[in-house]
């Protein structure tokens, strides 16, 4: 089973990279493009075939390393 984790900066956290990319897009003429936020996408393979156990394991992986809950939130997607 494969896990795909998407990590977002929380809305209250300043995203300096996102703001810079947004200004660059506007310079390119993409007027009206707003709300650029930059996150992370992490993929990995799990030994566990059972979806419930796999999700629990990914939650723990996120909590213990991949995500800093002070500044980030995340979504998990499991793919057979």
């Amino acid at each position: 089973m494969k896990a795909r984790v998407t990590i977002h900066l929380k809305p209250t956290v300043l995203d300096a990279q996102g703001a810079t990319v947004e200004r660059a897009l506007q310079r390119l003429g993409f007027e009206g493009v707003s709300g650029v936020r930059i996150g992370k996408h992490i993929e990995f393979t799990l030994p566990n075939g059972d979806a419930t156990a796999a999700r629990a394991q990914v939650e723990e992986i996120c909590r213990r390393l991949l995500v800093n809950p002070i500044i980030e939130s995340y979504d998990i997607e499991l793919v057979k």
Binding site: L14, Q17, L65, I70, I71
Partner: protein, 244 residues
């Protein structure tokens, strides 16, 4: 009764480890040694310093991978026993990731890496690292970081202020805390904080790079002189690491 025994932790990618050993060992004459991150024991160290640098290339998040190094269990035990821990720059990021200090360090608001001199106002003079400073004293110390924008939610920031855990704030040369003197967008101009007990302190600026007038400033020495002042007052350091 003497100088504190110092351990400077080396992670892969630490780059201020030898500067820190120079400042504390050579300049101050404290017994100072390097401890590799794979070690699990801090020996008889009384002060543990997590130095500046780019541990693990800042992969994932600054300090995130260093936080799971074997030595960190010993650092956390040392802190929990009341032992002194100082985080400088990347060390600050590691201590936040380890949960020994609240909050997190974000990318600088202007996105640029900043290597420059800043002024810091000493907000607390009752920590082991600021005891020799005057309240409101302005220190001129360099910064060199890309991720130094201190962040915590409003409730945490209010608690830090209420508990007196803000140790250093960015200010102008006259000691005024202003928007212009904040180099990286840090919440409430926070440059350095401590834990509730006061034994774990961290700051983004580099006092080890400002410990000799030859290098442009010796203002950082007040942190090291504070350690000596504590030993002189109490006859000992708060706690030694050791095995227990």
């Amino acid at each position: 009764m003497g100088a504190p025994r110092v351990a400077v932790v080396q992670f892969p990618g630490s780059n201020c480890d030898y500067d820190t050993v120079h400042a504390l060992g050579t300049v101050m004459g404290f017994p100072t040694r390097l401890v590799w991150h794979q070690e699990t024991d801090l020996g008889d160290a009384e002060l543990v310093i997590l130095p500046g640098g780019f541990s693990y290339g800042d992969y994932l998040r600054t300090g995130a991978i260093a936080r799971v190094s074997p030595i960190m269990n010993a650092v956390i035990r040392h802190a929990e026993r009341g032992g002194l821990v100082l985080g400088i720059c990347n060390g600050f990021q590691v201590l936040c990731e380890a949960g020994l200090l609240p909050g997190a360090l974000l990318r600088n608001a202007g996105t640029h890496f900043i290597s420059d001199w800043v002024h810091l106002r000493v907000e607390r003079t009752d920590t082991p690292f600021t005891r020799a400073a005057q309240h409101g004293q302005v220190l001129r110390i360099p910064i060199a970081h890309g991720d130094g924008c201190y962040f915590a939610d409003e409730a945490t920031l209010d608690a830090l202020e209420a508990n007196g855990q803000v140790v250093f704030r960015y200010c102008d040369a006259g000691g005024m805390v202003t928007l212009e003197s904040n180099p990286n967008g840090a919440a409430r101009n926070i440059a350095g904080i401590c834990n509730a007990a006061g034994n774990v302190v961290a700051l983004m600026p580099h006092p080890e790079r400002a410990s000799e007038t030859l290098l442009g400033s010796a203002d950082g020495r007040v942190l090291w002189e504070s350690l000596l002042a504590g030993v002189a007052r109490d006859g000992r350091m708060p706690a030694a690491a050791g095995r227990r």
